[in-house]
């Protein structure tokens, strides 16, 4: 799935997702989206789907 990505990006993504407080579905979707974008196969629809997977905290929006 992450064939199109390079190690530094994968590591950065992992670190950021660890602190992002989202569920594993979001983590997976974002990783796939970035990998597809690097492979030239992502479009706005995929971003829209990912936005639907974002879980916002009721109080501060994060």
């Amino acid at each position: 799935m992450t064939d199109t990505l390079f190690p530094e990006l994968i590591e950065a993504l992992r670190e950021v997702l660890e602190d992002a407080g989202q569920d594993s579905q979001f983590d997976q979707q974002l990783t796939t989206l970035i990998a597809n974008a690097y492979g030239g196969n992502a479009d706005r629809k995929d971003v829209e789907l990912l936005l639907n997977a974002v879980t916002l905290d009721a109080e501060d929006g994060h």
Binding site: D3, L9, L17, G40, R44, V47, L51
Partner: protein
């Protein structure tokens, strides 16, 4: 992704490019050494290759430049590539009547396409900036080290395609904008509010752009002034050092500055030793931290149990209350709820914080003498520097130098530098002042106006999600750049150690440009050859672990490099690129070209001009025998 050049040809173009073709399709010989004397179109070929890869449009002037003095109304440049299993011909047809150029792409399989239409993902990869890296532009070698430019960072951005992440951010904005437009249930009054808030947002966004641009320009000017000041001060120092017999007070003053600097360092170290005990710096900090300890105590943190304890409990035959744990569901409930408690590490950390806060309450206050010693050392250092400056001036004056002019230049640069730093401080200020003057405050204003707009247009939730996603993408990009910079810097330094033997040359950091170690490097004192070697070490490090394989095309790869370094470069380049195309001159044979004679994967091409056009001959014999009159002899390592 594997990209290879198979051939190129030119027809009906200026000079030697009237009718010219090169075939590089032999897969067993990925290295091509092409000997083309000056005037046979090397520079034009390099430019056309860059354009063909990136699809960059031609200006009328650029087309005019390619027009033959007497020739047809049309010209052609065709680049044939292997894009993994796809054969791709990029054709550029020049119309010399209306001075235009149009691209055409032929894919096999895939057919004819109008324009520069590479298949995905190659179309996303091959842009103007990347083309400049692998169809290597000699000027880039100097730009990579120029701190006024951002070429090194741009090279990393291009090759690691961080623009992909910006593209996703832009897509998220488009999703939001689309949703905003689709919200049809808002009333007329709401619609007016939406328009008003939209205008307000545009005003803040425009101002933000202006401030960012002002910061960019001022930051470049600051770097340039700082360098100018360094150079001028180095000149003054050199002048003073030159006239060593004139004034002994200069040497004494130099010693005094060194002693004062050492005392200042010691005083700083003494003050810094209090930093891990902030309570000692000021009583108010102690009071706040004691309050923090009380709060932690009141919250009963870190709690009596850690989640490890619940793990243990779930495996026991009975609970601590004595009831048997026979039902599997009870064990599962214990495990499910264990996450409400801190883990061992967090438990330990909170206890450590508590311990430190408790101990801190009795920390000894920093002695007044420590601060006084720092003040005194600072004044003494200032005074010693003034004395040294006066001694320098006396020496230079006594030797007939015009120190007054130099000092007045220095003062002017210092004032300008000071002004630039003040502007930057205002632009970067995160509190106080108006949002119209500071980037962080203006960004806050933009965010707040965006929120207001999204509330009015009923897209607030989507806006928050977009903002969240964009923040994540920004963070990923920033962390990636940092990691890539470190990796590239380490790899480049490893290569430099193997390439340049005469002198230890290392990159201290990559920040916009490559910053080399050593004070002389700050003043740009590296030779043209060293500069080129640094560029090769950097670029090969960049390409080495990229997820795609690109050819490397270079004109005069070893021209200005000394013979010893040439040998290392001749070994480095073929290891790093799957295809290597080098335009060489006979002057580059010693140390460089001759190193390739030992290999059996090299194609030799020799081109020369004849009245009928350019003649090309393949093979090593013709290559070795050829010596053009305009070829330079091996150059020394010019600075």
């Amino acid at each position: 992704m594997d990209i290879k050049i198979k051939a190129w040809k030119a027809e009906g173009l200026r000079g030697a490019m009237q009718d010219f073709q090169i075939d590089l399709s032999d897969p067993l010989r990925p290295i091509a050494l092409i000997q083309m004397p000056t005037g046979t179109g090397k520079t034009t070929t390099m430019t056309l290759l860059r354009k063909a890869f990136s699809g960059d449009p031609f200006s009328r002037d650029e087309v005019e430049e390619l027009r033959a003095e007497i020739g047809p109304e049309e010209g052609l440049f065709e680049l044939e590539l292997g894009l993994d299993q796809t054969n791709c011909k990029i054709k550029i047809t020049f119309d010399f009547v209306d001075l235009s150029a149009r691209y055409n792409t032929v894919l096999t399989p895939g057919g004819n396409r109008q324009g520069h239409a590479l298949p995905r993902p190659y179309d996303r990869l091959l842009d103007k900036n990347l083309a400049r890296l692998f169809v290597f532009d000699g000027e880039l070698a100097a730009e990579l080290r120029d701190r006024h430019l951002t070429s090194a960072d741009e090279a990393i951005d291009s090759l690691y395609r961080l623009s992909v992440l910006s593209g996703l951010k832009a897509d998220a904005d488009t999703v939001l904008e689309t949703q905003r437009k689709q919200n049809k249930h808002i009333t007329g009054q709401q619609s007016n509010t939406v328009q008003r808030r939209k205008d307000a947002l545009i005003e803040a966004e425009d101002r933000l752009q202006e401030l960012v641009e002002e910061r960019r320009v001022t930051s470049l000017s600051e770097a340039s002034l700082a360098e100018e000041l360094n150079t001028l001060q180095a000149t003054i120092n050199d002048l003073a050092e030159k006239n060593s017999k004139i004034d002994d007070a200069y040497e004494v003053a130099k010693g005094d500055v060194a002693t004062a600097a050492a005392r200042l360092d010691a005083a700083h170290a003494q003050v810094s030793s209090y930093f891990p005990r902030p309570q000692a710096l000021h009583p108010a900090i102690g009071v706040r931290l004691a309050h923090c300890y009380d709060q932690i105590e009141a919250a009963k943190l870190p709690g009596p149990s850690s989640k490890v304890w619940f793990d243990w409990l779930s495996k026991q035959p009975e609970c601590v209350c004595g009831r048997p744990l026979t039902d599997q569901r009870h064990r599962e409930t214990i495990l499910e709820n264990k996450d409400q408690y801190l883990g061992d590490e967090q438990h330990g950390l909170v206890n450590q914080i508590k311990g430190a806060l408790k101990q801190g309450a009795v920390a000894t206050a920093m002695a007044t003498e420590t601060i006084e010693a720092l003040d005194e050392a600072t004044s003494e250092h200032q005074h010693a520097k003034q004395q040294l400056r006066a001694a320098q001036d006396r020496r230079i004056k006594a030797a007939g130098g015009n120190i007054d002019t130099l000092r007045s230049q220095e003062k002017k640069i210092e004032n300008d530098l000071n002004d630039a730093q003040k502007i930057l401080a205002t632009l970067d200020a995160s509190d106080g002042g108006s949002w119209k003057d500071s980037i962080p405050l203006c960004q806050k204003e933009v965010d707040s106006r965006k929120e207001a707009l999204n509330e009015a247009s009923d897209t607030f939730k989507t806006y928050q999600k977009v903002k969240f996603l964009q923040a994540i993408l920004d963070e990923v990009a920033a962390k990636t750049v940092e990691k890539v910079r470190t990796t590239i810097q380490d790899r480049t330094n490893e290569k430099l150690a193997g390439v340049i033997h005469a002198e230890r040359l290392t990159i201290d950091r990559i920040d916009r440009a490559l910053q080399l170690s050593g004070s002389s490097r700050v003043r740009g004192e590296v030779s043209v050859g060293q500069s080129l070697a640094v560029a090769y070490a950097f670029l090969t490090s960049l390409f080495e672990h990229a997820s795609y394989r690109l050819p490397f095309i270079v004109d005069s790869p070893a021209g200005p490099i000394d013979v010893e370094t040439r040998k290392s470069v001749s070994k480095l380049l073929p290891q790093m690129f799957p295809q290597l195309i080098m335009f060489v001159q006979s002057g580059e044979r010693e140390g460089f070209v001759e190193a390739f004679y030992e290999r059996n994967d090299v194609q030799y091409l020799t081109c020369w001009r004849e009245p009928s056009g350019i003649r090309t001959e393949c093979g090593r014999e013709a290559f070795e025998a050829f010596h053009s009159d305009d070829d330079a002899k091996p150059k020394g390592d010019a600075t």
